[in-house]
Amino acid sequence: MVADNLSFTRALIATNVKATLALRGAFVIQVVFMVLNNLTFFVFWWALLQHVTTLRGWRLADIQMLFGIVAAAFGLAVTAAGGVRHVGRFIEDGDLDTLLTQPKSVLVHALGLRSQPSGVGDLISGLIFIAWSGQVTWRTTPIVAVVIVASAFILVACGVVFFSLAFWLGRIETVATQLWELLVTFSLYPEPLFGGALRLVLFTALPAGFVGYLPVRIVHEASFANVALLVVAATAYMALASLIFDRGLRRYASGSRFTTFG
């Protein structure tokens, strides 16, 4: 059964990517411009760090690595599981109905229904930043790959949690999107900037610490404890997302919907 599920997931991602590539022109433009977008934005950090060589211990190379990992993880997330952004809309429009009549996980299927072409641009720019940081060797490449994947899983899991609120609250598209983008925003800033209480939030409710900071730490020094922590965190967030989505699905199946009359 696991083999069937893996085979399905692989086929789903392949179909998803194929669909995005179907409009070749638009795809290429989105990819190229997203790379330009990310590189241009980074000029701010580059310029700032020409003046201050370290920011509470973080050098330019560290920030490049941070950007690289988060951009690559985000790109991977919205390319392979781009449906995460649309979960709220799927719920409201009843698009989960067809998925419920099929014998595969509704969540996985829903995540694999959409792909954002610009995600590939994010992924490429992420790899550019990582290479540019000069902190990666052939030996550390597998570790970088692992942390990017773990980070992507956490991003998707949090997206699922935020957008699944639609099961209970109806059209909360804007709020959920903003929460999710907030997560990405926080992930892009070096963690030493943040004080005690906020740091707690960044490792729990809005796990930017697991998306950006911990992966960078691991690339610098791949201690078993840190890697284990990241893997456990990724698993925990995915389990939470799965649980919340399932609960929501049960509610969906009971027919409770938000109907506005007044």
Binding site: V32, M34, L36, N37, V43, Q50, H51, V52, F194
Partner: protein
């Protein structure tokens, strides 16, 4: 422009202002984002100060600087989206024969939105900056930012309009918008005053309206004037004319594309 012309466009402005009040969701989101970004940057500038400030000013001023640039940027309603939608749907074709010029009507509408967003976001900017720095710049400095900020925001709105019109040729203007916006951030000195950037970037920026839109008005808060008020006013006038001509030209080309290709 006769009084009736102005009246017509003013009516569009009023309608849009009502719409804006019902777009509260988006506005509240912007306000929340404002609070977050100012919080993050107040930490950032304090951290930078530990290592050595890049310009002769203190971290608190730089937080207020960011509050000013973000206020200007976020107040401009992102109308490129609705224009792209209208072009895609073909709605624009119907408006082309309308006596009220489509472009002017859209701009007037957007100004109505701006009139609602700017005070709210301005208040948010003030409160958040104060909360994070426990300090305010001299009142005169803040007051001079306001009119320039409104003007700059209006110009940014006009630029959004121009970008939206590109939808006549491009399937999707979003990629162009992304890169344009990041250039605005860098060349306009959104987060870091332009004078902190290397010389070649500053030279490149001089060819764009971006410095006049963000870094110049906001720098009054720093006490180090990027340009004198007079010079800035002059620049804004010149760029207004240039942008107005540019947008009109784009629209003209768009109309001829439609009439040649039949929409």
């Amino acid at each position: 422009m006769t009084a009736s012309h102005v009246g017509k466009y003013a009516a569009f402005s009023r309608i849009a202002a009502t719409q804006a009040r019902s777009e509260r969701h988006e506005l509240y989101g912007r306000m929340a984002f404002f609070a977050v970004i100012l919080g993050v940057f107040s930490s950032l500038w304090r951290a930078v100060a530990e290592a050595g400030m890049p310009i002769a000013t203190d971290p608190k001023s730089l937080v207020w600087y960011l509050a000013a640039t973000e206020w200007i940027l976020l107040s401009a309603p992102p109308i490129h989206i609705q224009i792209q939608e209208a072009v895609r749907r073909g709605d624009v074709v119907y408006r082309l024969g309308h006596p009220v010029s489509y472009v002017v009507a859209e701009f007037a509408g957007a100004l109505g939105l701006l009139a609602v967003r700017a005070p709210f976001l301005g208040l948010t900017a003030f409160l958040c900056a104060f909360a994070f720095t426990r300090w305010t710049p001299p009142l005169a400095a803040l007051l001079i930012v306001v009119p320039f900020g409104f003007a700059a925001s209006a110009l940014i709105t006009a630029l959004y309009l121009g970008i939206g019109l590109l939808a006549f040729w491009l399937q999707d203007v979003a990629p162009v918008y992304w890169v344009w916006q990041k250039l605005l951030f860098v060349l306009g000195g959104l987060m870091l005053p332009l004078e902190c950037y290397p010389a070649f970037i500053q030279r490149a920026a001089a060819f764009t309206p971006f410095p006049s839109l963000l870094t110049a008005p906001a720098s009054f808060v720093l006490g180090t004037h990027f340009m004198t008020p007079g010079a800035l006013a002059g620049r804004l006038v010149i760029w207004s004319i240039a942008i107005a001509l540019g947008v009109t030209w784009i629209f003209g080309r768009a109309v001829s594309t439609v009439t040649i290709n039949g929409g």
